[in-house]
Assembly symmetry: C2
Homo-oligomer: 391 residues x 2
């Protein structure tokens, strides 16, 4: 049911999948929507960022935005903030968001002998799971997905991205988010699903990078900084690209975060996979029609980027980052209705969801699944009261 | 099968359980075996601590102690070290081990209104699980388990313990360790089970404390510092005391770590539980006979502490900390053979282990279980090669 793409290299596969033209340019992190909040007057997000400091909590009438919800959401970010902003006051680098992580320990002066990269890859993947990854894949680093420049939120500086060039491999880490908590998007409460995902992701990436460093090789732990996670995760065989611009995985649907480790440890790269997402997303419009910001395209993949926050020279479903983030800012929390309503967002600990996923390669099954999805409203929002009442 | 002790207060229950006499004295953390390594010549652990820096890795002939094993073990401690030693260079406080954690954010200036402590308790327990706890219980703080003094490993100072007195409740957090990894004790590899347990425990405790602080109340996150976890966890209804001096839980057996949060948030305390451990440990000698250091008593609970690292004025099975830690030091890694061979150390995702646990209240079942345990060697060591080969 999950088909491995073996007839072309992951790079060629992505070129074809996204119809990448010679006009394609690497992304400058200065244009990232969160970084634009610093320098671009069109993106005004002061209250949004301020709400992550509980001292600025203002009660809201809408449910899912009370003191408990904000207190929980902000606590879920605690460790991510603590580690990520260690040096931010001095040098403006927010690790995990504008720059990669600084590791604690210097690592081993001697390299472990790698006779067998297959065995080494197996061990790295095993360790990744122990450190919190739900799945793990390897790709060779494809320069196209590396940012050209990083952005300094304190100084406004835009220096060249400094990832060492000899780090040939990237280890992509899939961090599952909590299924029930993600059912409460979009609320301040559901922002805890995001925060918890990042906290596990940070822990996983830095621990794995330290492990590799301890083996005597170089490793750089990265979250949303340094490179685009989604194309790299596709290259690493971890999922397919969805209409909502997110990675859809066969194990956790789109309800995930992604972190990564760059390394020079010799590894064996994975191959991209397909399991029917492309055709499903062509027919399904659930995320596009549920998006209150109308930020998700309902038509075919487009070549024109909606704003400077997206890539050009590439044809794909592209979310309008400006519209999307404006909705977040208005709400003082992050939104992922698109994750919630996605038919692939299921609790895959249940066997019947695996069956449905496997059978969804047939058109008539897809039709029935989509019909049920709409009729029975599987993607309906769980109220914050129901969430807090649960266990 | 799990019986709640309702006829007496948790404090009275513990007094009776451990036959606490007027000679009982609170513990001074200066006498903790890890702190004694700083000032007591009888405890020489320099090489042990040094091995947690991979630069000092020395290959060993015994399996489970190679470069991969040490690299993985040390990486599993990465975040715990990073957070715990932030201030250690300046003030000598190793947070999580000699002192409680400093939180990142100041919390809310306004208190959330608690109309219903039952509901508040439910929400705190729900959040604890989201932050990584496998189980969570509440007790009122019982001064007997608080350290009288903390110990500063840098200065050798022994100041009075400074936990604010108005923090009336403790939230005890059970952090499950990985069952398969714990089957490899005692190796450098198995030390990763310990490290991962601590890392999750740290993340859970600081996030939960930040959550409560965000609600406008006070909260102090603590790991092995400040107070004795095991009697508090018994008071909080999380398990029973085993011959190996460890907590045995009905959900994860002894294969756990414990962290905690002290708070003034009004909560509802739990009641101690019993599920047959006391009688089982009377008959079972598996941990005592498997301990290579002969540090676990094979007889009845004793009133005399084996060394200054244990409490006096209390009758219980008491591990000889000096013998135990000497074995660790000789091996350059922590040992938990006692966890591995404990009949309660089972993978409780399997239903039959729950059934066995439930039926173990009958003597003849206990006899059969113990017979099978010895005959079939359920607690046999998993080789490091098998562990690395697994998934």
């Amino acid at each position: 049911m999950i088909r491995k793409i073996r007839h072309e290299s992951p790079g060629e596969y992505l070129s074809g999948l996204f119809n990448i033209t010679p006009e394609f340019k690497r992304f400058n992190a200065r244009n990232d929507i969160f970084n634009r909040a610093v320098w671009d007057d069109r993106v005004n997000a002061k209250d949004f960022f301020r709400s992550y400091d509980i001292a600025n909590y203002k009660p809201k009438a809408s449910k899912g935005f009370d003191h408990w919800d904000y207190a929980f959401r902000n606590a879920s970010w605690h460790l991510t903030d603590q580690i990520g902003e260690r040096h931010a006051r001095e040098d403006g680098k927010v690790e995990g968001f504008t720059n990669y992580y600084t590791l604690n320990a210097p690592g081993s002066p001697t390299k472990v002998v790698i006779d067998d990269p297959v065995e080494a890859t197996h061990r790295i993947k095993l360790a990744a799971r122990m450190f919190g990854a739900g799945n793990c894949g390897i790709c060779e680093v494809d320069d196209r997905w590396l940012y050209t420049h990083t952005f300094n939120r304190k100084t406004g500086g835009n220096p060249e991205m400094d990832l060492p060039k000899h780090l040939k491999y990237a280890i992509l880490l899939i961090i599952p988010m909590d299924h029930r908590l993600s059912k409460t998007y979009p609320t301040a409460l559901s922002g805890a699903s995001t925060g918890l995902g990042y906290t596990t992701g940070l822990s996983c990436a830095v621990s794995l990078a330290q492990f590799i460093t301890n083996l005597g090789f170089e490793a750089v732990a990265s979250m949303n900084d340094t490179a685009l996670n989604i194309p790299m995760a596709i290259a690493a065989g971890l999922g397919e690209y969805g209409r909502h611009g997110l990675l859809i995985t066969p194990q956790f649907g789109p309800n995930i975060r992604i972190t990564k480790v760059f390394t020079d440890l010799p590894l064996v790269a994975d191959q991209p996979i397909e399991f029917g997402v492309k055709t499903f997303c062509e027919e399904c419009q659930l995320c596009a029609s549920a998006c209150p910001a109308r930020a998700i395209p309902s038509g075919k993949p487009q070549a024109e980027p909606p704003s400077i926050s997206s890539l050009s020279g590439i044809t794909k479903y592209t979310v309008d980052a400006d519209k999307c983030f404006k909705f977040w800012v208005g709400m003082n929390s992050d939104c992922a209705i698109c994750i919630r309503v996605c038919p692939y967002n299921k609790d895959f600990s249940k066997w019947w969801h695996h069956l449905a996923l496997s059978w969804s390669r047939w058109r008539w099954v897809r039709r029935i699944l989509l019909f049920m999805e709409k009729k029975l409203q599987f993607g309906a929002k769980l109220s914050s009261a129901s969430w807090w009442a649960g266990h």
